[in-house]
């Protein structure tokens, strides 16, 4: 079921949580709402779920082009997974998952053995058949989260909404669960919206990412688009570590220190902010003309998938450079070495407008 959010505004007292937010989610898509805390992503999810109403005259949420209230009862099925699970603490795992089936009106309620069959199938899916009789208090965080997901799936939702589903879990468990969630989505194709503040999670799991900031949508696009072609400085900064240079536009190019960055210019002399990701910097032993910055190596950390090098430029900026182990072997450096840093790629954001 497709979802359309149309110019939704939501305020709590004086606090504006959402400012004319619009977005579309196609049927069967998995979209991540990504942003820092306070960006409005959870409010947006709760508004889509109907847990919050937009301000009067503050836009609407449409499902297949219709308001939620106009949908036939059969299509009004929203699965919601809460950040802190919200499992029914006095019920067993089985009864938690069965809840959505048991509360159906008499005519459409499945028979007892049918409920049993469907619940056990879901418990099998989350690999918890053996724990059907446990109560939520006796489960680990990852197990609770899986029960919460099974409970939401039991009603065969047309839309699945997940609020920071892995936020309270260990790094390891998170990793496993998000791969599992992606596989599950590929099998079931339920239209899903996932709220997260973790850019790795969004990049790994989502078909499309909606980056939010201060109640607004900063950028919407595939993981590749938002990562490689960030529309704003905020998006670039939020989606991974960046090195920031302050530059200036000179004869159509942006210049930082002695280095010219290939970028279409703005008005001559305009102040520019140049953002470079750590893996877009390279390190050389010798100066390559005017195209590099002189720097001193502060720290080398080679334990990890990449070699992380911290340098201080002669202009005072502290930079992070990520090199592959192969590249590092070709130009090994150590603390105290004088090196030349050269950006291979950069994104330039001019004051007031962006390129």
């Amino acid at each position: 079921m497709s979802i359309e959010v149309r110019k939704v505004t939501k305020t709590f007292g004086n606090y504006v949580a959402l400012r004319e937010v619009s977005l579309e989610v196609k049927a069967g898509e998995l979209v991540a709402l990504l942003g820092p805390s306070g960006s409005g992503k959870t409010t947006l999810l709760r508004t889509i779920a109907g847990l919050e109403a937009p301000d009067a005259g503050g836009g609407e949420v449409l499902f297949e082009g219709r308001a939620f209230g106009d949908l036939p009862a059969d299509e009004r099925k929203v699965g919601f997974v809460f950040q802190h699970y919200a499992l029914f603490r006095h019920m067993t795992v089985f009864e938690n998952v069965a809840f959505g089936l048991r509360v159906r009106p008499k005519g459409v309620r499945p028979k007892e053995d049918e409920i049993r069959e469907r619940v056990m199938a879901l418990l099998k899916l989350i690999q918890m058949e053996n724990l059907a009789g446990r109560r939520p208090g006796q489960l680990s965080g990852g197990q609770r989260q899986r029960v919460a997901l099974a409970r939401a799936l039991a009603i065969e939702p047309r839309v699945l909404l997940l609020d920071e589903p892995f936020g309270a879990l260990d790094a390891r468990v998170r990793q496993d669960l998000r791969q599992w969630l992606r596989r599950l989505h590929d099998e079931m194709h339920v239209t899903s919206i996932l709220v997260t503040h973790d850019q790795d999670e969004a990049l790994e799991v989502a078909d499309r990412i909606v980056v939010m900031n201060q109640g607004r949508v900063e950028q919407m696009g595939t993981p590749d688009e938002v990562f490689h072609r960030p529309a704003t400085e905020f998006v670039m900064d939020f989606l991974g570590h960046v090195n920031l240079f302050h530059g200036r536009v000179e004869s159509g190019r942006t210049v930082i220190g002695g280095v010219a960055v290939e970028a279409p210019g703005g008005p001559e002399g305009a102040a520019a902010r140049v953002l470079v990701r750590p893996h877009q910097l390279q390190i050389e032993r010798t100066a390559g003309g005017s195209e590099s910055l002189r720097a001193k190596v502060e720290r080398v950390q080679s334990a990890g998938p990449v070699v992380r090098i911290e340098v201080i430029c002669e202009t005072g900026e502290r930079l992070r450079v990520d090199l592959s182990h192969d590249a590092f072997e070709q130009t090994p450096v150590q603390r105290g070495d004088e090196v030349f840093v050269k950006p291979r790629e950069a994104r330039v954001f001019l004051e007031d407008y962006t390129i």
Partner: protein, 265 residues
Amino acid sequence: MARAVVLGVTAVFLGLFLFVPLAAIFGEALRRGWGVYWAAVTDPAALAAVRLTLVAVAVAVPLNLVFGLAAAWVVARHRFPGRSVLVTLIDLPLAVSPVVTGLMYMLVFGLQGWFGRWFWDRGIEVVFAVPGIVLATVFVTLPFVARELIPLLEEQGDEEEQAARLLGASGWQMFWRVTLPNVRWALLYGVILSVARAMGEFGAVSVVSGHIRGRTTTAPLHIEILYNEYNFAGAFAVATLLALTALGTLAARSVLEWRTRETAE
């Protein structure tokens, strides 16, 4: 060493002020033998007093169960103007002296009061009759259920209720299947406290009762009458009934606390 001293002081204090008086009640009641005890307990006026006490409990506790649950849910789940006033009002009966409560009811429902004449003209006696006693009991037991539930409901939050609604439950289904089971032990605890207070209430009931023996005396009032008539054996015999309900309350309370811990784990 210091621990032993504190423990000792506590034990002596509790013994002196709680255990010895409690034992004295039973001692006094039985001093002249089981025959006298049994006669005092089965005296028609005593039985009528116990019956009236039970009637007051039977009306006041269910009323306050429903009111307390509703009030606690409204206060814990909603933010509205006047919310803090409502919370204060719920606590009012704890702050007001029971005698003052009784006088308030006299002022409102007494023959010289605001509505007393209106009821009297329609043949309904409020004060110096059973309705007045029940009203006073409802008032003094009003806070107990709500006060037990408000902190628990606030601590549990409303996410489980939201989850129930999103899974398709109606408001009633949410209440019966999620809200109520989650607070059931606290609710029962509040009821036990209400029962104990309703049975033991003296001050407010004393003012509105009129002390008509066998008709408007509750168990505590009956004890006072017997005591004032120097019928110590009788007074203490009826007092043992109240003491036994108090002990029963304590036992029920311990069981509940143990159950709550069990389910919390």
